[in-house]
């Protein structure tokens, strides 16, 4: 068989040969390269390694993830036409013996002949056929729907086109105020294009929300600068002179100017292929509880299938379909499919919204806090829970999903709602489904830990498949793994050996270990995957007050060469600039060095420093020498910088000398390693220009004193710090801030930022530890010890005294003088003459090496 489409995966004979024992191998052909088709491939392979599997994809690429389509619209820079959304890498199909025909349409199903006719004229025979052909966007039959500038929001081709159009357009209209429509609108906005959502109904997402929730969602969307126009029936899409869309005309005669229109009003199941073959269809292809169509050897699944009168346009049922369909195709006994609970999560970053099941019901309870845009509801029918809405506060999603799924009987729905908000992973019943994509229950995860000996989230995910679908349940999976491990620790320091930070610290202290290799030798810590070695190295250094034996092999490359590795393998260089204050001499040296070493970019950082990007590893010692400033530790888990505003020196509002305090604090803290990076700031008045309240440690001058904030963040997480103390003098604020820093150094888990650490320990406990006079004195004494050792040497001085001759250099290149068979023995020190270099270029490496073939 050959096709004019591209071929991936197994050869044309259909993959792995059957072994001799089995009868003639069954050949399953799957039509449709979406999540449904891919998922079915995987379920088939799990059950049977011999059956021939062929996947026929109409689109010109391998199966991709449609659920995260909106990521593609709002990502700043997609990394290719499908971004990272391809479901499996190209090799997967080879490795699993799945033959894939892409860019290949099925023209006709010949049911009696058990054959498919393909768009290229070839035929493919099947024993069993699976239709996973999905759906088309529903387009309203109105004049102008075909105009240039009108797009359906469904496929990646459209997405790329919408993205490009949104970047150029002056105003966009999205027709359809459902889940996908809102996500599309947000994606268009991400391209900087203003957008109006036009919706036929009197409220947004009417299928998932009741009137109360919808009335709260509306202002939330408007707050995101999205215009929403309700009860608008679009009668015509208007064209300009060039046949490009210029706006919409509604049934009341009003018009909206728009040079980009995205349509997202629902789906139309693809059924024509089945219908023409004589398979029973209604809205979709009709299937029974085994997902069998009216034709015994043909199943249908995903969005093209209609089961008990329902067509599902969401992802979770697809995974359930795939399991049942796989059993049916392989003629195995398995669970029947009895329908899925419809539920959805709005994937607009600023708005948390979950809708479950029948949200109206005949009763229930609602808790609404208009000023906080929170709306939580349980819907009941005949005394049983049938649905829920969680807007603004989605705590308890899993518990309520489980309750609705099991039809829990509820006497006091308001109390049940409150209880759900408190329900942590501990309270979830074992049968509560955690991963809807793959149907994994809490009990499965607990058993993976307690019975199968898995310890890390990653291991559990790979074994149970929980969290490997849409990924939204990953945090919950991690929580359950931690609970099942019987440990309060959020994570083991060494997950391979299941050793907590406390355990390892105890070993180090009681045995007096002063090097990573000693601990590894004695306890096995870090020997298996090695990823915890930096955590271990930090612990060893911290417990020994930096009087440990440094072993660079345990450090990340950043801490081996004191610079931050970039995605291309070059490094970035950030000299220390205390408090963000510099001078013309430093700037001149930095400028000269940037020229001399040809740095790719000079960037002013968010921390009031200068970053030289794109420096080669072996240039690092020389560039540091030329700059002549100390390391800014921008590459490490360490005190980064203390940002400051100009304070009383220059500012007419200044209440405190923030520059002086910032420069002093940075001087006292610099060079110290910490469990995770520590960013700091000092503001000279409550206008807070140094953003001190969202730093790990921040100090803000107020009338008559200083406030010390801890646990703030303004990165991937945003958290306002807590005021740990208000003090009268700058000196006192330094003592409090420094004592906190030391307490954090001694008690936080590796990679645990202060914004997690502070709420975990609790402000009261921290105040007790840091403000109590004796405790504070002890912390400051230990800080002094650690600092003295750390300050003894600026890491960038290793340029003159490296720990190894090749600390900053790789090995010399080897050029083969000639293609001379055995024993070619080039030596990098010999410069190849031009002839041998030319020959060398013709050498190509081939074939897997002997080791690799195993």
């Amino acid at each position: 068989m050959s096709t004019n489409g591209h071929h991936f995966g197994a050869n044309g004979n259909g993959g792995r040969a059957a072994n001799d024992r089995s009868p003639a191998p069954k050949r399953v052909v799957i039509v449709g390269g979406g999540i449904a088709g891919q998922s079915l491939c995987e379920r088939l392979r799990e059950r049977d390694s011999d059956v021939q599997v062929t996947l026929v994809c109409a689109e010109p690429h391998l199966p991709y993830d449609r659920v995260h389509l909106s990521d593609l619209l709002s990502d700043e820079e997609p990394s290719g036409p499908l971004g990272e959304l391809q479901l499996r890498p190209d090799e997967w199909y080879d490795d699993n013996g799945v033959e894939v025909l892409v860019d290949t349409k099925v023209e006709r199903i010949d049911l009696p002949g058990h054959e498919l006719e393909l768009s290229n004229g070839d035929t493919v025979a099947y024993d069993k056929l699976a239709l996973a052909i999905g759906s088309q966007p529903l387009m309203p039959p109105i004049p102008g729907i075909e105009l240039e500038g009108v797009y359906a929001y469904r496929g990646p081709t459209d997405t790329a086109a919408i993205r490009a159009a949104a970047a150029e357009a002056t105003h966009a209209a999205v027709i359809g105020g459902g889940l996908l429509g809102l996500e599309a609108a947000r994606g268009v906005q991400a391209q900087g294009c203003p957008v109006t959502v036009v919706h036929l109904m009197d409220r947004l997402m009417e299928r998932q929300l009741d009137a109360g929730a919808a009335s709260m969602l509306l202002p939330a969307m408007e707050e995101l600068d999205m215009e929403v126009s309700l009860e608008r029936q679009t009668e015509e899409i208007l064209a300009d002179d060039d046949g490009h869309v210029r706006g919409l005309r509604f049934s009341d005669g009003e018009e909206l100017a728009a040079d980009l229109v995205a349509v997202s009003i629902g789906i139309r199941p693809e059924k024509e292929l089945a219908e023409h073959a004589g398979i029973d269809c209604n809205r979709g292809i009709i299937v029974d509880d085994r997902l069998c169509t009216s034709e015994p050897d043909v199943v249908a699944l995903g969005e093209c299938a209609e089961h008990r009168g329902v067509v599902y346009g969401i992802v979770a049922p697809i995974y359930e379909h795939a399991k049942v369909a796989a059993d049916t195709l392989l003629e195995r006994d398995g669970d029947e499919y009895r329908g899925s609970l419809p539920w959805a999560k709005l994937k607009v970053a600023e708005v948390d919204l979950v809708s479950i099941g029948d949200v109206e019901g005949d009763g229930g309870a609602t808790s609404a806090l208009a000023e906080r845009r929170e709306y939580r509801k349980i819907a009941m029918r005949d005394g049983r829970m049938v649905g829920a809405i969680l807007l603004g506060d989605t705590r308890g999603t899993e518990a309520l999903l489980e309750a609705v799924r099991s039809g829990e009987r509820v006497d006091d729905p308001l109390a049940r709602l409150a209880e759900a908000a408190e329900a942590g992973p501990e309270e979830l019943p074992d049968e509560a489904q955690v991963c809807d994509c793959n149907g994994v229950c809490k009990g499965d995860i607990v058993r993976a830990v307690t019975e199968d000996g898995m310890s890390s989230k990653q291991e559990v995910m790979s074994v149970t498949r929980a969290g490997t679908g849409c990924g939204s349940c990953k945090p919950l999976v991690a929580d359950i793994v931690a609970i099942a491990g019987g440990s309060d620790e959020p994570a083991y320091l060494c997950p391979c050996r299941k050793q907590t930070r406390e355990f390892v610290a105890e070993q180090i202290m009681s045995n007096g270990h002063d090097a990573v290799s000693e601990v590894s030798e004695a306890c096995g810590t870090g020997r298996e995957c090695g990823l915890c070695k930096p955590a271990l190295a930090y612990l060893v250094s911290q417990i020994n007050d930096n009087r440990h034996r440094e072993e660079r092999s345990a450090r990340h490359i950043n801490d081996r060469v004191h610079a931050n590795i970039q995605n291309d393998g070059t490094f970035s260089v950030v000299p220390r600039m205390r408090g963000g204050v510099t001078n013309s001499d430093q700037l001149r040296r930095i400028a000269d060095a940037a020229d001399k070493y040809d740095v790719g970019m000079i960037k002013v950082t968010g921390g009031q420093r200068i970053d030289l990007l794109g420096v080669k590893k072996d240039d690092l010692p020389a560039i540091w020498e030329d700059i002549g400033m100390p390391s800014g530790h921008a590459y490490g888990k360490a005190v980064r910088q203390v940002k400051s505003c100009v304070g009383t020196d220059f500012c007419r509002f200044g209440l405190g000398d923030s520059i002086k305090l910032g420069v002093e604090l940075e001087g006292e803290w610099e060079g110290l390693h910490t469990p995770a990076k520590v960013k700091s700031g000092v503001s000279g008045c409550p206008r807070n220009c140094a953003e001190a309240t969202v730093k790990d440690i921040g100090v803000v001058a107020i009338e008559g004193g200083w406030q010390v904030y801890v646990g703030g963040a303004a990165g991937g997480s945003v958290r306002k710090g807590d005021v740990i103390a208000t003090v009268e003098t700058a000196e006192e604020s330094k003592r409090v801030a420094t004592a906190f820093l030391q307490y954090y150094r001694e008690h936080a888990s590796f990679k645990e930022r202060t914004y997690d650490f502070v709420p975990r320990v609790g402000l009261e406990e921290l105040q007790e530890q840091v403000l109590d006079e004796d405790n504070q004195a002890t912390l400051l004494e230990r800080f002094r010890l650690a600092k003295t050792a750390a300050a003894a040497r600026d890491p960038w001085l290793e340029r003159r005294d490296p720990y190894h001759e090749r600390q900053f250099t790789d090995l010399d290149s080897i050029q083969l003088p000639q293609a001379g068979g055995n024993g070619a023995n080039g030596h990098g020190d010999e410069p190849g003459d031009s002839e041998s270099v030319a020959e060398e270029r013709e050498l190509e490496l081939v074939g897997p090496p002997p080791e690799g073939e195993r």
Partner: protein
């Protein structure tokens, strides 16, 4: 197909050129390799991570694996097999130490059309496991 020439025993460095527990890059005939030194001896892999092209020589070396410094994708030192991710393995090359000098054997072909994919994907089986980069951010963010 032209004749396959196996380059045996290319001297890549002296043993002491690579610190114990670390790796270093060496470019042999234009191809970047990573040479590692552990308590169990020397290993050589293709240097380029199959995930995003990170330099494996700069990774953290454990008893039997190395983790890429960019996103912690792991590979077996002895075979190049991918461990715990689906980005594919890297080629591994036999290494020999003689009198404190380190030699690597690489299969080479003269004059063939470029076929990098055979090296990139030929090395290893892939374990079906979902990749989750280790919790939190990369070892250091890019901010100063």
């Amino acid at each position: 197909m032209t004749e396959t020439i196996s380059i045996e025993g290319v001297r890549v460095c002296a043993a002491e050129d690579v610190p114990l527990g670390e790796g270093r890059t060496v470019i042999v005939a234009g191809r970047p390799l990573a040479v590692f030194r552990t308590d169990d001896g020397f290993f050589a892999l293709d240097n380029t991570c199959t995930h995003m092209g990170g330099p494996l020589a700069d990774g953290i070396v454990a008893d039997e694996t190395v983790a890429c410094p960019l996103h912690d994708r792991r590979f077996e030192l002895a075979t190049g097999r991918a461990v715990g991710h689906e980005c594919g393995g890297v080629a591994a090359y036999p290494v020999e130490g003689r009198d404190g000098e380190i030699f690597v054997t690489m299969p080479l072909l003269e004059g063939a059309a470029s076929d990098e994919s055979r090296l990139a994907t030929g090395a290893a089986e892939v374990e079906p496991a979902e990749v989750t980069p280790t919790d939190g951010e990369s070892p250091a963010g890019n901010t100063g």
